[in-house]
């Protein structure tokens, strides 16, 4: 197990894992899209516009999941000085920012026909927008500091402070009774008796798993690039570069 903690071994292992993860992601996404667009029924009030939920809600889950993962990895990097954890945090930020942006844009495209507005300063919407700024701030901070160790440390502090926003996003629909509706699936323990029909629950869960696999695929791809850059003076990278072309 610990042999993979060396950047060199991790680089090789990630290179072997990525094609399998990519295939699994593609298969699940195809199945999820089929379920979302063809199998799931139109809503009796919202009509076909309800299909936006199968992108919007899994993306929103991912925006939180990736943030917790990123902050956790950054924290581990900060405390135990583990290079791979720092690199995972760094690789996660643009993916998390992407899911947050998708959440906001698809929410807007859903809000316009259903609420009659593209945007409102509702608690859920505003806290999700703050999440986007946290991701962008983390990325900007990493890019602004040349020394990778210092960049990782500064980023970790920002990411960890930003964790307070996560419960705010989660509970915002309960704490402030504004525009956004409460969660449809509130916890894993309720999955046995959820308040939504299986024809909607299945595509939601399949898309969520597909997005999770997608996240790990792209994170590993980004980590490989980061490893090469961080280890550019090590012998194995020099040898790899010498034989690569």
């Amino acid at each position: 197990m610990f042999t993979y903690a060396s950047p060199k071994n991790f680089y090789t292992l990630a290179g072997q894992l990525i094609p399998w993860l990519a295939v699994a992601t593609a298969l699940l996404l195809t199945y999820g899209l089929y379920q979302s667009l063809f199998v799931a029924p139109p809503d009796y009030q919202q009509g076909e516009s309800v299909r936006i939920i199968y992108i919007h809600v899994p993306s929103a889950w991912m925006s939180l999941f990736v943030y917790v993962n990123m902050a956790g990895a950054a924290g581990i990097g900060l405390v135990w000085n583990i290079k791979l954890a720092e690199l995972l945090a760094r690789a996660s930020a643009p993916i998390g920012a992407s899911f947050t942006l998708i959440t906001l844009i698809t929410g807007s495209l859903w809000g316009k026909p259903m609420w009659g507005t593209w945007w409102a300063w509702d608690a859920r919407l505003t806290s999700e927008l703050i999440l986007l700024f946290l991701y962008l701030g983390f990325m900007a901070l990493q890019a602004a500091i040349d020394d990778p160790k210092r960049a990782a440390r500064a980023g970790a502090l920002l990411a960890l402070v930003g964790v307070v926003n996560i419960p705010v996003i989660h509970f915002s629909v309960q704490w402030w009774n504004t525009l956004h509706q409460p969660a449809s699936i509130s916890s894993i323990s309720k999955l046995g008796a959820p308040s939504i029909h299986p024809s909607m629950l299945i595509p939601l869960l399949v898309m969520a798993v597909a997005f999770t696999l997608y996240y790990f695929t792209v994170a590993l791809m980004r980590m490989r690039a980061e490893i090469l850059e961080r280890e550019k003076n090590s012998r194995w990278v020099t040898e790899l570069v010498g034989t690569a072309r």
Binding site: E48, S49, I55, S98, I102, I105, P113, R222, V237, V241
Partner: protein, 57 residues
């Protein structure tokens, strides 16, 4: 249901396909960006190594 009905999305075509399309573009861009970044790093390191070799000859 015909394909035309399917694409019309009960009158919500712009919103539904806009949402799915935007997500697809962003997710694809992430994959391309990640792949391209590793290639760029490799190319940079390769040029750097060649320069270094030319120096020491």
């Amino acid at each position: 249901m015909s394909w035309a009905d399917f694409f019309a999305m009960g009158g919500y075509a712009g919103y539904v396909w806009g949402a799915y399309g935007f997500a697809a573009v962003v997710l694809l861009a992430n994959i391309l960006g990640a792949a391209r970044r590793r290639q760029a790093v490799l190319r940079l390191l390769h040029d750097y190594t060649k320069l270094h070799e030319a120096d020491s000859e």
